[in-house]
Each structure stands twice: as structure tokens, then as C-alpha cells.
Point group: C2
Chain length 469, copies 2
Amino acid sequence: MRSVDEAIEAQLRAALPIAAFRPLTPAYLEEPRGLFHGDGGLLIAPGTVDEVSTILRACNDAHVPVVPFGGGTGLVGGQVMQNARPVILSLERMTRIRAVHPTENVLVAEAGAILADVQSAAEGAERLFPLSLASEGSCRIGGCLSTNAGGVNVLRYGTARELCLGVEAVLPDGTIHHGLKRLRKDNTGYDLRALLCGAEGTLGVITAASLRLFPRPARTGTALLCVRDPSAALELLALAQAQLGQGISAFELIKGTGLEFLAEAGMGGPQPFAETPEWSVLIDLGLGPSDDPEAALLTLFEAALEEGRVSDGVIAQSQSQRTALWKLREEIPLANKAVGAISSHDISLPLSQVPAFLTRADDALAGLGPFRVNAFGHLGDGNLHYNVFPPVGEDKSTYLSQRDAIRTAVYDLVEVYGGSFSAEHGIGRLKTGELARYGDPARLAAMRAIKRALDPYGIMNPGVIFPQA
Amino acid sequence: MRSVDEAIEAQLRAALPIAAFRPLTPAYLEEPRGLFHGDGGLLIAPGTVDEVSTILRACNDAHVPVVPFGGGTGLVGGQVMQNARPVILSLERMTRIRAVHPTENVLVAEAGAILADVQSAAEGAERLFPLSLASEGSCRIGGCLSTNAGGVNVLRYGTARELCLGVEAVLPDGTIHHGLKRLRKDNTGYDLRALLCGAEGTLGVITAASLRLFPRPARTGTALLCVRDPSAALELLALAQAQLGQGISAFELIKGTGLEFLAEAGMGGPQPFAETPEWSVLIDLGLGPSDDPEAALLTLFEAALEEGRVSDGVIAQSQSQRTALWKLREEIPLANKAVGAISSHDISLPLSQVPAFLTRADDALAGLGPFRVNAFGHLGDGNLHYNVFPPVGEDKSTYLSQRDAIRTAVYDLVEVYGGSFSAEHGIGRLKTGELARYGDPARLAAMRAIKRALDPYGIMNPGVIFPQA
């Protein structure tokens, strides 16, 4: 594998408009957690799919690595290549919403469109694009698709892959796949769309996508309900699903530790309970025009109270109260950052295994040291962010030597319970070791065969998913 | 490619229990429409995934073709190999429901489980497995997944692929992929599950799957509403979605021709309208326990009537009335069969293009001959079964020479409107020519590369998706 050199740079400059070349600022060589640092490269921001094709064809011929770059918000180092100077192919100039089809509930966006702009374009047509995550103000839809992003609305609407009807993409050899179909049903061979979604830029570059829209729920409601423990939270989920079916848009678990971190960090706004609940659940409803979400939440709360599944709760009575409740959930990651995690784990579990996992994981960590654990996240999907912190008043630096032991303890248990060591963030460069260790061997062999078949020279995002040779 | 011979048969008989060998009856060599006839083979019905692995390993080593066989109900010849005697690998003995996890909304079934049995197992746990199609009493879930089956509930719940959380599968070289995860979120590399779903048995054999269940809608309702034309049907869909959001389980278009065929064939039961409506729509709702579907349908009907989008209609007032309305829709394919189609087309279109397509397709066919067209199907998904029949009193045999011209006229127009020539039935052996003609070249090249990578000797279901060499 050859780094970008003068010859290939000259070739690319001759083949592309000058506007495609932008200064390589440090932002392209870092990722949010500071775990990976790039060693330079040639930044190119193509303006069209044909320019993307030109770049890939040239790099494929010259065996030069290409790192596709979206919003740079990924948490597993997928956007930062180390030990080589690749072409950094940024989608930042391909940001158009190409079309909105409200009657079809479809929107076609270029890969560089910011997620929040896609949401806004849907809203402008009185529709909902439900993908919603912390970085939505800066992440780009192409990155969301390439990493199969999740977020808070997966329970109801699915992951990024499931929200994607078709893609336009450039394959490693520069050929353009024109697959922007707007169809719900299209059984004409292998699902290349699904393969590219979640491939983290290792099989090509998604340049545009047709995306599913939904009717906007006419009435929304939010409640924060206190539960005894994660088991009770799951019982509450079952009760809520029996009463409200698909009306539940989000079902988020919050641990008392998270609320304490918010208070410590002065974040999240005022907290609704005098005493911090050990566990609580944030429920979001999206219902029809003739429904009453506050009444539905009250019915749920009363039934759950009677069955001993909740002990206290607040139901938002206004949009500002909704926003305030969501602010608690949304700022937990910021509070975590302020406290400083020793190790963070984006895991998922079969729903019924969540309580047993949490008990045993806490026990395992207690055997390693006096750690604090903040477990929170998308309980409706079985997706938890299980993050480990130093004791009160201590700094994570003291404990960094134990990071590997913590990770192994957590992921080994995840494996025992049939879970995933990467629920929504992906593999990137961070978790290639875990994939090799925990991945199903037959699937890994098939993945390697597919990678070799579509990218024989290994130019696409080397080091991601598969360790760099 | 070598047909099964005595040597390989002896090897397989030595390696497998005697129960795995069953007599090859004609049912394994025919498909429902009689378009493909097999030339024999060795029928093996393995009882375990290890036995499937043994078969594939032996066939891969000997370069002997393998045709995976589910319920044999597919309509594109995917289950019948011609001009060779393959191993016909039937899943009929792997029919167990391995587990039901109601609190997780997950069910794990072996590939040979009949779809109706999977539905019943879900119902037994007070859950819904929403995949529903005409052949549900005899098709097997492995076949449904391998062909990414659709049916009437895709609008709300997705296709078979979207209902599948994970698979256990045997790859062509006999390695077993243990991927029966019960996770909503699992971003750990390429989506082999999505690739195997819809690969029509050309990349391996799905032996079991973990499937998504849903809360059973507490209250259901059905209406048959008369609309002026397909445009009005789409306006009605938009209105219904605005009022009822995801509460709409099915939205089926019915053409007057279909109702006439039912009457001609003495099928479908009594028809609800004195005068056959030129177009009508069957709407099915699944709502929560506190909802009133009849009232919701009446509200919809009144609003649509006021806006001139419907002219008449019936709303089922009982379960038996619901069943009667659905019987009309469900027996249209039988009536079609009784009349005898010259050519049938399982197509999908971007929703907004459906009316224009129907007009232009009817015009194109009128230029070819005095045909009758029955267009019906899952309008909510843009999926139509566009079937062409001889004039009243004539037999299709007179017109079979025009079949190719009809097909080309229909599919060329589908292509113009950005649709698909195979919405839910797949490619099989019937549509390999159409795939080569209309498929995106870059995607076809990628598909061929993936096929070569995973099945280098081409043993898996030769002739399906790719023309037989």
C-alpha cells in the first residue's frame, strides 16, 4: 500500500476541478475521543459522483488508500488512518437534498448532507426522517449509512440501513452503482445496499441515498418514570407495548449515576425528583391526531404503579417540559465526558438478558477496582452504553492501565449473554481485535472473501473492520 | 458442473443417516405455474445443520450442484434445476420452532418451519409474526427469507429480510455461520444476514433464523372503499396515513377486472357492491386496545367522500365480514389462474408513478392486442401484480406467441418509471434475462464478484439469478 505521493497528487489535480482541493486541517486527522491521530494525506472534496469515480479509479490503479470522510463524528476511528498518508475523500461538498417525494414518503439526499438538514427537509414536507442521534448537527448522512447508525428511534423506525431504500455509490474500481430506487419492494438479486450500509467505507463510497420518510406523529408525549431496577424497566416496556404498540418512539434507560454526573457537571438542567432515582426510564410517544399522549402515559403510569413496576414519575405537560426531560437524557454523554470514562462500551444484549448482564458486569468490575459504572441507553433495542469511571474525586489517568482488563471483562460477559460488543458505533479501527476474537469464524471468512472480491487491492479505508496488513 | 452420480451418492449415503434420504416425487421437479421441469436428482432432507454442512462440503469438493428446497411455492423457478441432476436439499425435516422469547419479541425457527406454523407459534405467545402471503400454509420460512418474501403487511412491518434479526446458515464450502443473534442493533461488520436473505439459495443454505415479533394489534378493522382511479387511491392512502400513521397494516388495490374474474370463476364469495367498482381499495387497520377501528375507518371514509376521493364503500362490522372482504382480495390470484394469464408481472413502482404507469401500460398493451389486464396488489408498497389475459371467451394459448412482446412492453415501461421488474417474487430462473437487461451494471458486476468469492465452484442453485453457464 502506497501513501499519496507527488505523482498521484499531480494526476488527481489534473483530473479534478481546483475547488475539490481543500486545505488539510487538523480536524480531518482526529476523532472525537482523541484515540486516533492521522499522519496526513491529501484532502479532496469532490463535487459530483463522477469526481468520486475519478478519484477511486486513480487510487485503485495506483494502489493508494482512500479514507471516506463524513462528519468526522464516528467514535471508533473509522475516519482516521494511521501510519500512511491516504486520500481523505470528504463528502462535504455533496450536500444537496436532490428531491423530496412527500406522497411517496421518500427523500433523496447526497451523502454529505448533514443529518439535521435531512431531518429539516423532511419536516418541510410535513414528514419525519426518524434517524436521530447526539451528533445530528454535524454528522453526514453518508457516514450514518456507512456505519449503520442507530440512535434513539430505532425501536420504532429501525437503524440507518433500514431507513435506506437505495444508494448511489462508487465501488473501489471507480464504477458507479446507480441504485437510487424509491421502492419498498425490489427483489432483483443481492442486496448491495444493505452490504454498503455498515461496511464503514471499506467496500466503496456511498454518494447519495433514497431514504424512507414517515408521517409525522400528530401528537407526542414524554414521561420520565422511576423503576426499581432494569428488570422492572423491561416489565414496563412490555406493559407499554401491550398498551401502545408501535406508538412508542423511544424507551431510554437512565441510571442514577448518570443523573449524579449531570449534577456534578452542572449539566442537564434541573432534575425532576427530590431524590435521585436509582433507575429511571424516558418514554417518548408519537401518536395520531385523535390520540391523547398525556392521558396514555398517565394510564400506563397508573397501571405500572399498581403492579409495582414504577415508584414515581413525571409526565411532560408541555413542549418545554418535554424538551427539559430529553435534555437530561441527551446531556448524559457530555456529563460522562466531563467526569472522564476509563473505558466506554457500546453494547447490545438480548432484551431479557439485560438485567442479568448488568448485575454480573458490575460484580466483575467490582473485582477489578473501585469503579463507578454509568449504564444508560436505548433499552428498547437492548442497546446500552456501559461506561466505566474512576471513583469520586479521582482521575481516570490512574486507572488507564486497567482499561484492557475492563474491556475484556465486559465483552467476555457480553459474549456469554449472546450480545454484541458493538451495537451502533461499528468496528472502525478501535474494535478490530474484538471482531477477530468474538466474531463468528464463518462470517469473518465470508467478509474477508467479499472484501477481496470487491476491493482486491485493499484501497478502501485500510485498517477498518479488518486489521491493517 | 457434474450431476449427482453413483460415487457422490454413495459418499453421501455413507455420511448421513438413512432418514435423510427420501423418494424423489414429481412435486420436487415442478413449480406452481408449470414453467420449469426438473430432470431428476438426489433428494436429501437433512435433520440438522451439521448434516447440511456435510452435504455442502461433499458437493463443493465434488463440484456437484445443490438446489435448496423449501415449500416449493416460489413462482420464478428457483426451486427447479433443469438439464442436470442436482442434490435437492429439502429443509422439510428441519421444522422446529427452537425458541419463543415473548419479552424480547423474538422467535427462533428452523428453515423448514411452515410460515403458518411460525405465525401460530407467535400467536401462542400473544405476539404477531406479520409476514403473510398466499402460500403461507405450505411455504417454509427458509424459502421466505431466501427470496425476501413480501406479502400484504410489508407496508407496516417490512419484508422477510427486515423481519429477520439473524441467521444460522451453511456457506457453500460447508462452514456453518452461527448468527442467530436476537439483537436489534449489532454493527460488527458486513451484513451477511441481509446478503443471504434474497440470495435465493445461491450463496448458501439458511438453516434457521431469529425473527422479529410484534405486539398483536388489540383491535383490527377492514374496509373496502371504491375509488375513481389509482390516483384517487394514492390520495386516499395519503389521507389514511395522515389520520392513522402506522396503524395501516395493509392497503391493497383491486381492479374491477379482478372482481369480474372472481364472479366468472364463482370465487371470492358474494360481492358487496351492486355495480362492480372500476377500482377499489382494501384497507386493514391494526390499532391499540383503546382505539375503535370501525370509527376510524368511518372518519376516513367520510373525509375521503367529502374530498371526492371515494364514492362508496363498506366497513366490516364483524370478524366474519372482515374475513369476507379479505376473501375477495385473497382469491383474486385463484380467479386469475382459472381465467388463465398470458403473462404475469410482479412489479413495483415509485408510489407517485403508479397511475401514469398504469395508463401507459394499458395503452401499450392495447397496441399489441385485445387483452384484458388485471392490476392488483400491495399499493401501499407500490407493488402491483400486473397480469395480462386474453379477451373474454378466448384461451390464452392463442396469444402465447405474444408473451415476449407483452413482457418487454411492460418491463420497458417499468424501467422508464424507475420501478422494478421483480418486486417480491425474485429472479429465480425465470427473470435472469430481465436482470441482465435492466440491472445496474456496477451492481451486477459486484454480485458476480460476491458469488465467485463465496461459491467459487458455482455449486449453489446454478442458473438462479445468474444464467447457467
